[in-house]
């Protein structure tokens, strides 16, 4: 059992000739907030799908919470929470019913489900929205509800795939405050985002391009290393440099 929350060594995923993820390596420590950056189609979602047990890698080594991504996906699933970029709860069910349902899916007993719903609705400010059909909620509230479902079984590692896309700045700020609290409690947060201000909140980030990791480190260090003004400039600089190198 390794101490790290996520270890990836030379991990690849090919779809036919296309190398969606091409030989990437990285390690995420427990309690770390890790920003997983890259342009659209860079391979971020494919990587997350491999780490959450939805997709088998083509080659390489990977562990999540100490479990092998090839053989121990069942244990991985019990240790992680996942929130996808699309709202993927049942829109015709209320928030409470969605949570109850997922509680059962995670084998929680009903007393614990009730307790967790109480805790999470307080923490996320969901109380007054819990009994409406979740599909009718504004985007910001939906995302909070989705986070609540992902946290229901008290996972040690949280995978968030663009959790705040389409959400207004106030909601984003509040969302990240919750993520900070979780990190302080020792939860590892593995998050993809297109918002550079969010990336700057992360302990470390990686930048992916065409299936490869082109930069990995603390946001501030990366900016300074490339002599740019901020992370946004650095990101654009890096991606265009890669594009012209490949051209």
């Amino acid at each position: 059992m390794s101490e790290s929350a996520v270890t990836i060594d030379r991990l690849s995923r090919h779809f036919g000739q296309f190398k969606a993820v091409d030989d990437i390596s990285l390690t995420v420590e427990q309690g770390e907030t890790f920003g997983f950056l890259g342009a659209n189609g860079a391979g971020k979602t494919t990587t997350i799908r491999m780490l959450t047990g939805l997709l088998l890698p083509t080659s390489g080594v990977g562990t999540v919470a100490g479990y092998d991504v090839f053989t121990e996906s069942e244990q991985i699933k019990r240790s992680i929470g996942y929130m996808s970029q699309k709202f993927s709860l049942y829109p015709d069910l209320s928030g409470r019913d969605n949570m109850r349902f997922y509680g059962a899916a995670y084998d929680l007993d009903s007393a614990r489900i009730t307790r967790r719903i109480g805790e999470l609705s307080e923490r996320l400010g969901l109380a007054e929205f819990l009994d409406r059909p979740s599909g009718a909620l504004p985007t910001g509230w939906r995302q909070r509800l989705a986070l609540g479902v992902a946290l229901l079984h008290e996972p040690r590692i949280l995978f968030l795939d663009e959790p705040t896309s389409g959400v207004d700045p106030v909601f984003r700020r509040r969302f990240w405050e919750v993520l900070y609290e979780l990190a302080a409690e020792g939860v590892t947060v593995f998050v993809t985002t297109h918002y550079m201000d969010e990336a700057e909140y992360c302990d470390r980030i990686s930048i992916m391009h065409r299936g490869r990791i082109v930069e990995l480190g603390r946001p501030f260090d990366i900016v300074r290393q490339h002599g740019q003004a901020n992370l946004e400039e650095t990101f654009v600089h890096l991606i265009s440099a890669e594009e012209s190198r490949n051209a």
Partner: protein, 368 residues
């Protein structure tokens, strides 16, 4: 087990909270039963029959009366030229021409064999088939009655009877086919749509990141539809019994057993379809093509399988409804027991296993 129960319960919520799916589930079978029962009437009456009588005997007159006094046949629109049968058919004044050659009365009196001629307009094959059936029935019953007293041939009286459906009522043919159709639509169409919906909206992916296996998800989602399909089947049988007087001669338990097998095969088809598609739209079109069309056209529901061209005849063997239509007709109309329907039952089980295997392989490929 608890997970399957929760998934099934969630599926029931989905159905109950969506008025459209409720409509499909309850209103459609009822509506279709009435539609098929009342609107589509295959009982053909008042077929225009011309008669060319060369015999002109008392016996031939009696025969003609027998034809016209039945509800099936009526006189042609216009008086027809006595000579040319083909011209009569071509003019459209009559659907069929009965030709009574000279010697009919004589033959009847002396008990000789005799052949009557009948020309039938085959351009409408439903009417043509009806003319054949009706006139044969009429000849066999009426001609014998018309025999002069004392001419009754010893013990070899030719008695025929149209079995199982003496009046050839349409409802009795339609209802079994309708049950087969509704069950496959509920089981295959609705399940493929509901599974495709979870894929399309991403809820399937979210659920698979929880410790839930695809098999648990599928079983949980399917269970409510098994009960809905059974309920719909029962609903149609009740309407058929009460409104259309369709008999139920066989065992209800046997019917239930075979229905479950058929529902199983239909669900396998639904799962197979959902493993091939990504969206509800595609699932719906795929499922409609794979269920409704073949179940109506190739099951023997409306068109007799034995009259189909070889290719379609061959295809009909992979249509679950083909076997189930035979099973229901056997149980409801003939009171057939299990032993008479073993081949059909085994065929359905075989089809189910084949489709399940393909679907499972398809799913494994996707995850790996």
């Amino acid at each position: 087990m608890r997970k399957i129960y929760y998934i099934a319960r969630k599926e029931i919520y989905h159905i109950l909270r969506d008025p459209r799916s409720l409509m499909i589930v309850i209103a459609m079978p009822v509506l279709m039963t009435f539609l098929y029962g009342f609107a589509i009437n295959m009982d053909i009456e008042n077929i225009r029959l011309a008669v060319v009588d060369y015999d002109r005997s008392t016996e031939s007159k009696d025969l003609i009366d027998a034809f016209y006094s039945s509800t099936y046949f009526s006189e042609p629109r216009a008086a027809v030229d006595q000579g040319d049968s083909e011209a009569i058919l071509k003019s459209g004044d009559a659907h069929a021409v009965l030709v009574i050659r000279p010697g009919y009365g004589e033959a009847l009196r002396t008990g000789r064999e005799f052949a009557l001629g009948m020309f039938i307009d085959g351009s409408d094959n439903n009417i043509a088939a009806a003319v054949q059936n009706y006139s044969q029935g009429l000849l066999l019953t009426s001609a014998l009655e018309l025999l002069p007293a004392g001419q009754v041939s010893g013990g070899i009286r030719l008695t025929t009877q149209v079995l199982y459906n003496p009046d050839l009522k349409s409802a009795q043919f339609f209802v079994p086919g309708l049950i087969a159709l509704i069950l496959v639509m509920i089981s295959a169409l609705l399940t493929s749509i509901t599974i495709a919906r979870e894929k399309e909206t991403g809820t399937m992916e979210q659920l698979l990141t929880a410790p839930v296996t695809p098999v648990q998800i599928l079983i949980g989602k399917i269970i409510p539809y098994v009960f809905i399909a059974l309920l719909d089947g029962a609903l149609i049988v009740v309407i058929a019994r009460i409104v259309f007087d369709v008999p139920f001669l066989g065992s209800h338990l046997l019917m239930l057993l075979y229905s479950l097998i058929y529902i199983g095969a239909s669900l396998a088809l639904g799962i197979l379809i959902s493993s091939l598609v990504q969206t509800q739209q595609v699932a719906m079109m795929f499922a409609l093509t794979a269920t409704m069309l073949p179940s109506v056209m190739l099951s023997g529901f409306i068109f007799a399988i034995k009259n189909m061209p070889p290719v379609l005849h061959g295809i009909s063997y992979i249509i679950p409804a083909r076997y189930f239509v035979r099973i229901i007709r056997g149980i409801m109309l003939k009171g057939a027991g299990a032993e008479a329907l073993i081949f059909q039952g085994l065929a359905l089980v075989g089809l189910m296993l084949i489709m399940m295997t393909i679907a499972a392989r398809k799913f494994k490929m996707k995850v790996a």
